[in-house]
């Protein structure tokens, strides 16, 4: 069986590494005569390597977790898979389609939930989701029924469905974001910290929907999260990223074996995370 996602030696950096001969900075320095062009020092605007030669595969129907501290490259990785960024090196395939060569074939198979619930805030969930559904080619009547069904399943009251999004709490908005992603019945769902900012009950409802999606639709799910318990409960395998690199990748139970027991206590996933990344957890988006 072919993989749902193949990420092979993917590299992505932002910013400029140096003032090359064809850059404006090079000629500006040369024209000032402060130093010769060949001796011009590196541009002070530093290059940030967001994803550093990352490779892994995700199997169809798998829930694959990506853990990492802020700035570790999780969100960049998701943007690369979702065709919103172009890799500088390596390649990514989604169900056999290359994200750079066949972006539209990939886009038909995926959907994404980001940590920020981004909507037209004056529009209602129904209006926002109808817009999203039509972009994926769904008809109006079919979409309206499904929108009500998914939103009520996620715990939204019917009257909220027709009120402007700006009147809703962040947690409710995040549920609408999840509903938007589910509407197109994606074969691959990319969840970028979907439960950040949700109360415990909402968090559980979202987690139940994720499980349901896998069980009923056999969807493949790539999930980034800061919630270790959530990662452990939902994910079949977890990759831990730090400074753009994958520093560990295995099933949660095996990852725990990477750290020896401390004071007679079995290590948790959080212990493993802290040991491997060497940084403290925070809740902001990467």
């Amino acid at each position: 069986m072919s993989s749902a996602i193949i990420v092979h030696d993917v590299y992505k950096a932002f910013g400029k590494s140096d003032a090359g001969r064809f850059s404006w900075a090079f000629w500006r320095k040369a024209s000032r005569g402060a130093e010769s062009a060949d001796q011009a020092p590196a541009n002070k605007k530093s290059k940030v390597v967001a994803v550093d030669h990352v490779s892994f595969e995700v199997q169809p129907g798998e829930i694959f977790g990506v853990l990492g501290p802020n700035g570790s490259g999780k969100s960049t990785l998701i943007r690369l898979i979702s065709t919103l960024l172009l890799p500088d090196g390596g390649y990514i395939q989604v169900f056999g389609h290359d994200v750079v060569e066949e972006p539209m074939a990939v886009q038909r198979l995926i959907n994404r939930v980001s940590v920020e619930a981004s909507f037209f805030k004056k529009l209602s969930p129904m209006e926002n989701l109808l817009y999203g559904a039509r972009l994926y080619g769904l008809g109006g009547r079919e979409s309206r029924e499904r929108i009500v069904q998914i939103l009520t399943r996620l715990g939204l009251e019917k009257r909220s469905i027709y009120s402007p999004m700006q009147e809703m709490s962040r947690g409710m908005q995040q549920k609408v974001a999840i509903a938007r992603a589910l509407l197109s019945r994606p074969r691959l769902l990319l969840l970028d910290e979907p439960t950040t900012g949700l109360d415990p009950r909402s968090k559980r409802e979202v987690q139940a929907v994720v499980r349901e999606l896998r069980e009923e639709d056999n969807a493949t799910i790539l999930l980034t999260t800061h919630d270790m318990v959530e990662a452990e409960e939902l994910c079949d395998r977890i990759a831990i990223m730090d400074r753009g690199k994958v520093v560990a990748l295995d099933a949660p139970s095996r990852l725990r074996g990477l750290v020896p027991p401390q004071n007679g206590r079995q290590p948790t996933l959080e212990d493993v995370f802290l040991e491997l990344t060497g940084r403290e957890l925070t809740t902001e988006g990467a």
Partner: protein, 276 residues
């Protein structure tokens, strides 16, 4: 579901979304409508004012001048509203944070532009009809000898090239998240200057007259004025229509190509995600 059905539904997605936004921001639309009416009227009153200021000896036909100016105001309003709806397609979505969701949807960019353009043309047309309904009784506008069909045809022909220019201009907010929207104002301001919106281009200095030849609005305005003021037959509008159509046929594919390159650049450098 066929590809055509999918793309048609996606086109409608933009029309419906924009209509919903207009509905939700209805109070702002009322403000904008009042502003547009006041703007068109104040420009047109210059015509009547000129008759009075010049005195009887000057033999200025104030009503004709008012009609000349109101045609300029309406045509410019029509074209500039199309321009702003298209150029703001990126900035609005970046402001709301939805840009990544729209750009990762499985739709062709031409579908995206078609939906935005379709709404822009309908919206602009509606506004112009309302402004005309208010202005007509105030200026006692007599269009009995006018070729209204020819004028409308000229307007639609001209809107094609404006769509192309607007698509190109919409790359500015994509490439320059902080100041890109403001940069688009320069384009529209220069076109307003050289296209003869409120005066014949003959009064411009030589350099600006040469630039006027490159502006599709020049031909649209001359064609619409010929149709409405002179009552020229539709076939006689061809000298104004073909340059506007030709510019449209060149500008739309060029705009789409440029937008495609800008989108690729934005995806390479990570500019889609930035708020500004």
């Amino acid at each position: 579901m066929s590809v055509v059905t999918h793309q048609l539904r996606a086109t409608y997605a933009f029309v419906e979304r924009n209509a919903n936004l207009v509905k939700r921001y209805w109070s702002w639309e009322v403000v904008w409508l009042v502003y547009s009416i006041a703007n068109a009227l104040s420009i047109s009153y210059i015509g009547l004012g000129m008759e009075q200021l010049s005195g009887a000896d000057a033999n200025v036909d104030g009503s004709r001048l008012a009609l000349y100016l109101i045609i300029g105001a309406l045509v410019w309003h029509f074209l500039s509203v199309i321009f702003y709806w298209i150029t703001e397609l990126i900035s609005i979505e970046r402001w709301e944070g939805t840009i990544e969701y729209t750009l990762m949807a499985p739709i062709h960019r031409v579908t995206h532009m078609a939906g935005q353009t379709l709404f822009a043309v309908m919206y602009s047309m509606l506004f112009n009809v309302i402004i005309l309904m208010v202005a007509a009784p105030l200026f006692d506008i007599d269009l009995s000898g006018a070729n209204l069909f020819g004028g409308a045809l000229m307007l639609l022909a001209g809107s094609l090239s404006f769509i192309g220019i607007s698509i190109t201009a919409s790359t500015l907010p994509l490439l320059f998240p902080e100041r890109g929207t403001q940069m688009t104002h320069v384009i529209i301001a220069l076109m307003l200057l050289v296209s003869g919106v409120y005066y014949p281009i003959d009064v411009l200095p030589g350099l600006l007259q040469r630039l006027a030849v490159l502006s599709p609005a020049t031909y649209v305005l001359q064609g619409v004025r010929a149709a409405l003021l002179e009552g020229s037959a539709t076939r006689d509008l061809w000298p104004f229509m073909w340059p506007a159509l030709l510019m449209g046929l060149a500008a739309i594919p060029a705009g789409l190509k440029i937008f495609g390159l800008a989108e690729r650049y934005a995806k390479r450098t990570g500019k889609l995600h930035r708020n500004g």
